[in-house]
């Protein structure tokens, strides 16, 4: 079988959708919007991924998990991380947001600071979150930082449960 002719972009995206995020396995690299580009040409499959956080210790694990899943789909498979475009939490898909909620994570709000406004002007923008357990908006920010770089800690005043939110970046 000549794999070069038989696999399509859709096959690659299907395979990528099976690679879980190592820190939040309920969501895949596709759900998180980590896939920047898929290029399939002349027997060469090249996938570019966007790092969620610059200092995320899972980046190499994500890259190698993707490379492992795609191995054999084309004669040459390349998987690389790139800063060509900034990953933003706005890239998390609707499906990804639902899966986050189902596993107890509040999805991020809009990444309001964006790229244009001076950083100092972003100080008044405190994150808010809706409780993933009971749906209440009556929640309190407990700590901007959490157990991994991408998480913030909240407390739900209605169901009296702590929960985490994926940071809006």
């Amino acid at each position: 079988v000549n794999q070069v002719e038989t696999i399509t972009d859709a096959d690659v995206w299907g395979a990528l959708a099976e690679v879980p995020d190592p820190e939040i396995p309920a969501v895949s690299v596709v759900d998180l919007g980590l896939v920047h580009q898929v290029a399939l040409k002349d027997g060469r499959l090249r996938v570019e991924l966007l790092p969620t956080f610059v200092g995320c210790p899972a980046l190499e694990l994500i890259r190698s998990s993707v490379a492992e899943r795609l191995a054999g789909m084309a004669p040459v498979v390349e998987v690389e991380m790139t800063f060509a475009a900034p990953w933003t939490s706005d890239r998390i898909t609707a499906d990804g947001r639902r899966k986050l909620r189902e596993s107890g994570f509040a999805p991020p709000g809009a990444a309001a600071p964006g790229d244009a406004r001076p950083l100092f002007a972003t100080i008044p923008l405190r994150p808010t979150a809706t409780c993933p357990w009971c749906g209440s908006a009556d929640t309190t920010l407990e700590n901007l930082f959490g157990p991994t770089l991408c998480r913030t800690l909240f407390w739900c005043n209605r169901c009296r449960q702590p929960f985490e939110q994926f940071k809006a970046v």
Partner: protein, 257 residues
């Protein structure tokens, strides 16, 4: 702007900027990590560990950019130099000291760094603009956190206010160095790598900060700073930190994971 097309003086200035920024983030990250386990509240253990991880991650990306530009190995840049070869601003020579001191230092650094990142967001040197775009999004959380602590200490009664005020007075002359000591910044501005020379970035930083300092009644910056901003002379505190963060590597420089 393509790295190969850069004229030698511009390229040299860019290398200097990358090294200064990387060293700033790297050294601050290690001082932050000195709070792990002993911060005043558990939440701050978590926060400062996370801040440290962010900063060391930023340093790693910047050392990589420098290695891409000039050759070399990012780990070697981070861990393989003598203390006098680091180019961080002298604001980062101070140890963590006490909580209000660490808060004051981080607030002054983060706000200065924010002004620096703003001016690099549209840098003509695309690899740097790409990393900066990511850093800016993460730094919003640092700014928000340190601003909340400055407000809390400034309005939290006599002792926290006195400690914060004394720390800021002590740190201001060194804080001005964060946006200083970059040789050839005028060349970088002409080449579009920086949107403006460092003196203009510094003015924008201080203008943005002035209303907050006035509102909270906190010390204002001196008109200028004297002395070398980015080494080579370093005191015992930085030498102690250097001993700490290079200890594992010095024990076996050839080791691989």
């Amino acid at each position: 702007v393509n790295a190969q097309a850069l004229e030698a003086p511009v390229r040299g200035a860019l290398a200097g900027l990358l090294l200064a920024m990387a060293d700033d983030e790297f050294v601050l990250g290690y001082w932050d990590s000195e709070w792990t386990g002993i911060a005043p509240v558990l939440e701050e253990d978590v926060a400062f560990a996370s801040l440290a991880q962010d900063e060391i991650g930023h340093a790693q990306a910047l050392y990589q950019l420098l290695a891409d530009l000039e050759g070399g190995d990012p780990d070697e840049l981070a861990f393989g130099r003598r203390p006098e070869e680091y180019r961080h601003a002298r604001l980062l020579d101070h140890p963590r000291t006490h909580w209000a001191f660490s808060v004051a230092r981080r607030f002054l650094y983060d706000t200065a760094d924010a002004a620096r990142l703003d001016t690099l967001a549209a840098s003509a040197y695309q690899p740097l603009a790409g990393v900066v775009a990511k850093m800016r999004r993460e730094e919003t959380y640092h700014l928000l956190h340190m601003h909340a602590w400055v407000e809390r200490l400034a309005t939290g009664g006599d002792e926290p206010r006195a400690r914060l005020t004394a720390a800021m007075e002590r740190l201001w002359p060194d804080a001005l160095c964060v946006l200083d000591g970059i040789e050839g910044d005028d060349l970088l501005a002409e080449a579009g790598i920086l949107a403006e020379p460092m003196a203009a970035v510094r003015r924008r930083w201080l203008a943005g900060l002035a209303p907050e300092l006035a509102r909270l009644g906190l010390p204002t910056p001196p008109a200028a700073t004297a002395g070398a901003c980015r080494g080579p002379g370093r005191g015992d505190d930085f030498r102690w930190l250097w001993e700490q963060f290079t200890m594992v590597r010095r024990s076996d420089p050839e080791a691989v994971w």
